[in-house]
């Protein structure tokens, strides 16, 4: 008897609950709005480019050593390469400087020159510089600016920096025991589009 009552009660509850669901469900079904055409997959794909400028010098960027007057030959000879990689169409500017940290040679003793080569024909190299007085004392000498343009991979600009201690034919003992120390500095500038005028 009690089992039948339990079953009756249970079925009554189920019946009422089902009825409630029917009413509420019908109500919500009435206010539902359909939407078509929504996006399912990715519609915005953006990637940043890769831009690098590498300095390569088998002897490192520093300039130092014992030097003596030479005839038609550099006292210090320095080869270095600037390599550009760029996956974008932006222009990559850079500049070169000769940083003299110390130089107690006499003012007319030393000279320098820069020989430039656009090895892979991209962009613009720093212009070559004919033999020029180095002067004396610590200083930074701006050698010039160049840039890589467009999409490139391992494009090279090669340079040779020579420091001369020319033999003058006169007594140069005043510079005995003097020293020179410095390095080549490569600075990269802010990339820009070809329609932007920015001094690198």
């Amino acid at each position: 008897m009690s089992g039948n009552r339990t079953n009756t009660l249970l079925l009554t509850v189920i019946g009422v609950a089902t009825l409630l669901v029917a009413v509420i469900g019908a109500t919500f079904a009435y206010f539902t709005a359909n939407i078509t055409g929504t996006e399912e997959g990715t519609t915005i794909t953006v990637g940043a480019g890769k831009l690098t400028i590498a300095y390569a010098d088998p002897h490192g960027p520093s300039i130092a050593g014992s030097i003596q007057p030479e005839v038609d030959a550099p006292a210090i000879h320095k080869d270095f390469t600037i390599t550009g990689t760029n996956s974008t169409t932006a222009v990559m500017p850079y500049s070169l400087a000769l940083v003299i940290q110390s130089n107690n040679f006499s003012v007319d003793a030393l000279k320098y020159s820069l020989t430039s080569d656009n090895t892979d024909g991209n962009g613009q190299i720093v212009q070559s510089i004919e033999m020029t007085d180095l002067g004396t004392g610590a200083k930074t000498i701006e050698l010039g600016s160049g840039f890589f343009a467009g999409v490139i991979s391992g494009s090279r600009h090669t340079y040779v920096l020579d420091i001369f201690f020319p033999e003058t034919g006169e007594n140069q003992d005043v510079d005995k025991g003097k020293s020179l120390a410095g390095y080549v500095d490569v600075r990269v500038g802010e990339v820009y589009t070809t329609t932007t005028t920015v001094n690198p």
Partner: protein
């Protein structure tokens, strides 16, 4: 004992019948119902008002594989939301920028939302957004809620443009080199309000 069993069976039948009515009845509640009688009695035509929303924009894509910092936008996506409500029911839609992947340095990527001036004046459009941060991976930027006021008297359109920016900051931004963004637009729609029925008595 027999009475108890009879009650059990009766209630079982009632429960099943109610369940069937709930399923079938709910389906038919959304669509039109036509009730007609014989020629000697008046015919009644009951029509549920039309309501629907359409999103157009899946074909508008931004694909830029090699961007760098600059002032100008790197891509623009146009999307349109069209609403139709034949009764007093309003249509509410919420729009989001769903970011599936964003490996850019935080704060480097920005987005803007602008409204096309040729959009319908019906209802309320999303608010314009200017250079907001694109959120991180797995995060959805809430672009807001728009409304079509019913009755719309035909299909109405709200037209939007989403732009992606990688602005210069004046500082090196190399941390974002070779990074990527994958995203899409999401939209959800709800309606509210009473629906009027047009009744024709012949």
């Amino acid at each position: 004992m027999n009475d108890g069993k009879g009650n059990t069976i009766l209630l079982t039948i009632i429960g099943i019948a109610t369940l069937l009515i709930a399923v079938i009845g709910a389906t038919f509640a959304y669509f039109t119902a036509i009730l007609s009688t014989n020629e000697q009695q008046q015919a009644f035509t009951v029509t549920a008002a039309n309501i629907g929303t359409v999103y157009e924009g899946s074909d508008s894509v931004i694909v830029e594989p090699n961007i760098w910092p600059r002032e100008e936008s790197w891509g623009q996506k146009k999307f349109t939301i069209k609403g139709t409500s034949g009764g007093d029911a309003n249509i509410y839609y919420t729009v989001g920028l769903v970011v599936t992947e964003n490996t850019f340095y935080p704060g480097h990527l920005k987005y803007s939302l602008t409204i096309d001036p040729t959009s319908s004046s019906n209802g309320t459009k999303l608010n314009a957004v200017s250079l907001a941060n694109v959120p991180a991976t797995g995060v959805t930027a809430d672009l807001g809620t728009g409304i079509f006021n019913g009755p719309t008297n035909g299909e109405q359109s709200h037209i939007y443009y989403l732009d992606i920016y990688f602005p210069e900051t004046g500082q090196p931004q190399n941390a974002s080199q070779e990074k990527s963004l994958l995203a899409r637009i999401s939209i959800d729609v709800i309606t509210s309000g009473e629906m009027e029925h047009t009744t024709t008595v012949q």
